[in-house]
Amino acid sequence: MRETMAAKTIWKERKLRVARQTGRWRLGGVSDGFVYAAGLIIVFVIVCAAFPQWIASYAPTEMLSDHILQGPSASHWFGTDYFGRDVFSLVVHGSRDSLFIGFMSVLVGGLVGGIIGALSGYIGGTVDSILMRFIDILMTIPGILLALAIAAALGPSLFNIVLAVAISAVPGYARVMRGQIMSIKGRSYVIASRSIGVTPFGIFWRHVLPNSLSPLLVMATLGIGSAILAGSGLSFLGLGTVKEIPDWGTVLSQGRGYLTVAWWICTFPGLAITLFVLSVNILGDKLRDQLDPKKNAN
């Protein structure tokens, strides 16, 4: 199929304009109420992680052994667990490690995957083939199995969970980054720089990379959610950690046996995970809308 190049660009130009215009009218994205609510939840959780003692009324380690398995009440909003710990305080304090798992594994996975994808996409050729086959190999092994193998082999610790989740996320980031880099590589502003005589590295660093990052950013945002979920899945499969202050996934998976007798132990951390991941996803969606070039209107 041939197309009149000139007309194609006339079109591109016009379509862009129309899309931009219609985009402005039509892409409201997630309704703003939800976005604000999501933002508030995330901010609240971050505050919890940073200053849990401001919010929680008990120390998360305090075991009130004569108050075990008490339902929600005025003194224990979310009830107490089988140790007699205040579930609300657990949830508040647990946010720290949960966020750590979420953010760190996204950071590590995104960085490694991003670098692989960028090299592969920008250099192309044999490097690309080799790296992509490697990514293919990683892709054939379901992420959680990889994570399971790593966590099982290295033993359960916060760091290993992060590592496991991060590695299993690498192929996704690498693919997206590669695709993005390859598409940006052909843009005319990149050719423009080349025609000016900028070095390949300069082009990569100053044009290709910055313009390739936004989908990765969106993906990373959404990845925080999946990382937290993956972490809790590992806890469930018996690779959780035992810590004085457990993360949400650990509380949830350890409390699950009590669901029939003390629903509150795992319901609240479960809700915390769900709400936080939900908020992160809402924000990610919003971010996707926002970073959409179509939205880049005046």
Partner: protein, 710 residues
């Protein structure tokens, strides 16, 4: 003639996040049975909205008819339900869209999509519908319609698709055909074929046509009446001849004057309406056109003129009568006889826009940094002369570029696309070399080879005395400061994340190591040299209009005062008036900097205007090279003749048969034997089929590759 469609006082609003936006305001027009009405106006003037309002398609885009009536054969469309409208759409009124490639559903066959509409409106069996569809395809000139029926949209060329689109629109015998820029996306050759087809079909099917176009040439060729829109309003309407004879609105007049024709004097500047169409959310007060109007008065600023009828025609201007009576007003006189002086242009374009006029900066501070200013603008003749004596800047020798076709069989060397096939020519120091040809003929590829953005398959490129094809990458990088590029797509060629200062400053930083204040100063100079306010350095590309963006691209290209600039379709994506602004700017800069241009374009009149010499490409080969005027006056190659003849002529008194070059350009993967043009050439003989003609001189400076040059 009775009126088929009557639009009265139509206003259309869009619901947007930022509130209500009025896209059409008090639009009235009528189309009589059997009549062709053209809707013209710059981009964004509301042409498409009008057409969609008629079909009531705006309902799906958050649009609403706020006021007014649209009557089709007396039925008021504005009050019908979607259900009732559906029985009219496609049946009584049909539409043809601008881009055929995206107007078809890519996952169904052409046949399916044709039959779908037929069965929707007519009580026909599948078989009858199929037969009818085949008949229609045949009628619109699609060869082998039975096969096409089973093909998917992606398998047809743009021209074919547009024909199929027309067939689809005609399938239920509509009374009104709305065609929204049906040829903008197509080559000139195909464009004239399509226009011709529409003309024939109109009488055959006894329909009325509402044709939307931004090309006045087309309007002149086909319209009975012309309606001019500006910013959602009708500013003028008249019978075609009268409008071209005597435009009453300054905007119409401006549009007419912006059109470069084959007759315009090449030494003069192209006329352009200054500024740009306002955005709907920031409409000016009074007459919407007043900020761009050289004749605007206080009344224009404060009061909106009504659309007043004046013997059969209508115009919305306070001063139309007195202006039309003035001497200078007559267009044909002015443009055709080439009496627009640079001064007149300067006067007409002296406006309050941030786009400071080009000539205003002439000789201003640009000189301080060594931009060479030639204060005596030479006439065109002299330029051509001096150029002829000058040395070659570029010499291209037997260059080829073959792209391997996607191989499904590894190891086997498959066929390749011969994008550029054995081309030799040279570009002289200081001249503008134009390159024309249909889409896919290899123009851009040739340009990229010159710039060494791609390495040729074989052949050499000499730049001054260096053989570029031998240089290593790092050597090439230093040569690049002498060759720059202006891109087709003004939006895509600017990094959206960089501000204007950095974009323009990039070559300075790379080659001259300029940073910070020094760079900023230079950037500001460059901005004013291209007619932009220096205060815009910190803005980002998306904050500019298409024309302004192209100026930024130009500023970047001239930053290092290169010897050579490649402008690949640099103005194709722009509105006519903006096109003129950019072309003028390029010419001014050339005069000042003594730059050499390779100007690639598909708009032949623009190429004629700017180029000293022109090369015509067809399927990877150069088929003709000649000085600009010579080429248009005495085209030697039948292909060139076809191209020239396909250009719509903005002179309604001088209508002629449009079709010139038949058929479509063959695939460069399997080019025809002998002379590549022989499949479409009316003069082809058996010799042409067997023997490839060489590029030979037929007069001084005029070369053609044809066995039977005219």
């Amino acid at each position: 003639m009775s009126s088929l469609l009557e639009i009265e006082h139509l206003s259309v609003d869009f619901h947007t996040k930022k509130g209500l936006l009025q896209a059409l305001d008090n639009v009235s027009l009528t189309i009589r049975a059997g009549e062709t009405v053209c809707l013209v106006g710059e981009s964004g003037s509301g042409k498409t909205i009008t057409s969609k309002a008629i079909m009531r398609l705006i309902d799906y885009e958050n649009g609403r008819i706020a006021q007014g009536q649209i009557r089709l054969q007396g039925i008021d469309l504005t009050v019908l339900s979607q259900q009732e409208l559906r029985s009219l759409r496609g049946k009584k009124m049909a539409m043809v869209f601008q881009e055929p490639m995206s107007a078809f559903d890519p996952v169904y066959t052409i046949g399916y999509q044709l039959i779908e509409i037929i069965m929707e409106h007519d009580r026909k069996t599948r078989k009858q519908a199929w037969a009818h569809a085949v008949h229609l395809l045949n009628r619109v000139g699609i060869p082998e319609p039975e096969i096409r029926m089973k093909q998917y949209p992606g398998e047809l060329s743009g021209g074919m698709l547009q024909r199929a689109m027309i067939a689809m629109a005609l399938s239920c015998g509509p009374e009104l055909l709305i065609a929204d820029e049906p040829t903008t996306a197509l080559d000139v050759t195909i464009q004239s074929q399509i226009l011709q087809l529409l003309q024939e079909l109109k009488t055959e099917f006894n329909m009325s046509i509402l044709l939307i176009t931004h090309d006045l040439g087309i309007a002149a060729e086909v319209a009975d009446r012309i309606v001019v829109m500006y910013a959602g309003r009708v500013v003028e309407q008249a019978v075609t001849e009268e409008l071209f004879e005597l435009p009453l609105h300054p905007y119409t007049r401006g549009l007419l004057r912006s059109v470069a024709t084959l007759d315009t004097d090449r030494s003069s500047k192209l006329f352009s309406i200054p500024g740009a169409i306002p955005s709907l959310s920031a409409l000016p007060s009074g007459c919407l056109f007043h900020p761009r109007c050289p004749h605007a008065t206080d009344q224009c600023k404060n009061e909106a003129p009504p659309l007043a009828a004046k013997d059969e025609r209508e115009v919305a201007c306070w001063h139309s009568e007195q202006l039309a009576a003035s001497d200078e007003w007559h267009i044909t006189e002015l443009s055709m006889k080439g009496q627009i002086t640079a001064n007149a242009v300067a006067k007409a374009t002296e406006v309050k826009e941030e786009l400071t006029n080009v000539s205003a900066v002439d000789g201003a501070k640009v000189s301080s940094h060594g931009v060479q200013v030639k204060n005596s603008p030479k006439s065109n003749e002299t330029i051509t002369e001096t150029v002829q004596n000058k040395q070659d800047l570029f010499r291209v020798d037997g260059i080829r570029k073959y792209y391997p076709v996607k191989k499904s069989f590894p190891g086997r060397t498959g066929a390749s696309i011969r994008a550029v096939d054995d081309v030799s020519f040279s570009i002289r120091q200081g001249e503008t070399f134009g390159l024309v040809g249909e889409s896919g003929s290899g123009k851009s590829t040739l340009g990229r080879l010159l710039m060494q953005l791609e390495r040729p398959t074989s052949g050499q490129v000499w730049f001054q005395d260096r053989e570029l094809t031998r240089l290593g990458n790092s050597e090439l990088r230093s040569v690049r400061r002498d060759m720059q590029m202006i891109f087709q797509d003004p939006y895509g060629s600017l990094d959206p994340r960089w501000n204007v200062g950095d974009i323009i400053g990039e070559p300075l930083a790379v080659h001259e190591g300029l940073y910070g204040k020094a760079k900023q100063e230079r950037v500001e100079e460059l901005l004013s040299a291209v007619g932009l306010s220096p205060s815009l350095v910190t803005r980002f590309p998306h904050e500019f209009s298409g024309g302004q963006r192209q100026r930024i691209g130009i500023a970047r290209a001239i930053a290092l005062q290169p010897q050579f600039i490649l402008a690949d379709e640099a103005v194709s994506a722009l509105d006519v008036s903006v096109q003129s602004q950019i072309v003028n700017l390029l010419q001014d800069l050339q005069r000042k900097l003594d730059t050499t241009y390779l100007f690639i374009a598909h708009g032949l009149h623009i190429v004629r205007h700017i180029s000293d010499r022109i090369g015509v490409m067809y399927l990877g080969k150069l088929v003709e090279i000649a000085p600009s005027d010579e080429l248009f006056r005495h085209p030697a190659h039948p292909y060139t003749r076809g191209l020239v003849a396909s250009i719509p002529n903005p002179n309604p008194k001088n209508r002629r048969e449009l079709i010139t070059v038949q058929g479509e350009i063959p695939s460069p993967a399997k080019p025809p034997s002998g002379c590549r043009f022989h499949t479409r050439c009316p003069l082809a003989t058996s010799r042409c089929r067997e023997e490839a003609p060489e590029l030979t001189a037929i007069s001084t400076g005029h070369y053609a590759a044809c066995h039977y040059p005219a």
